[in-house]
Symmetry: C2
């Protein structure tokens, strides 16, 4: 439990790799995939999603690839996680209110407190800190 997904892991690896190169250099999904032993198509999808989210920029065609677009020190880990995986909550009831128990549940409030702590923690860390 409390694990991050491969998608997020692959995204971080890719960002860190691009970060270590001149920022205008284009890097292909294939290059990163072979270098770090990641399934290429899966990585490609993740990169495409990050491109849609404006984190990186995509250039098509041969000699195409991706490069970092956003200021990584302006994106919190919370925002990054939520861009890739949706709302961040330790329990589904944090967002979905259609829990069967509804009135019966006795830990909703305390759980939300923990949740807020966690979200707050990730809100205070930037992507830059992880990828630099």
């Amino acid at each position: 439990m409390l694990k991050i997904t491969r998608k997020v892991e692959y995204a971080l690896i890719a960002l860190r790799h691009m970060q270590s190169n001149p920022l205008d250099k284009l890097t292909s999904a294939k290059e990163i995939a072979t270098l770090y032993g990641i399934p290429q198509q899966l990585l490609a999808k993740t990169l495409q999603q990050m491109a849609r989210d404006g984190i990186i920029e995509a250039v098509q065609g041969p000699a195409g690839g991706y490069r970092i677009l956003a200021k990584l020190d302006r994106i919190s880990l919370k925002d990054f996680f939520e861009k890739l995986e949706g709302p961040l909550g330790m329990m589904d009831c944090y967002f979905d209110s259609d829990c069967i128990q509804i009135g019966a549940c006795n830990i909703r409030i305390p759980i939300q407190r923990i949740n807020d702590n966690m979200r707050n923690m990730f809100a205070q860390m930037t992507l830059q800190e992880v990828t630099q």
Copy 2:
């Protein structure tokens, strides 16, 4: 991602329920299961595990059940989570060193930093805070 398991959720519900009663009162798995709409056998296993861990005490036989044994304000959420679910890490590589990438991985150190932050956060919260 970053979700807690039902097992932990059920454990917290049970502890909070017992906490709201006189501390010497025995509560059966059945009672909690019906009250909160939880699968009884699954809850029972979780309670048994907590009993093995010394968090609660089990009394067998009819009119038996469970009651809180440990000082909940002395158990951190980190320890509680780890008792129930094992080592706490956002990525498996935090503990298992048998990652395929091994040398290639470029985010090991940064991930460990995030991980330490998270573990630290849960180490500073007590079970008492959640169940009182």
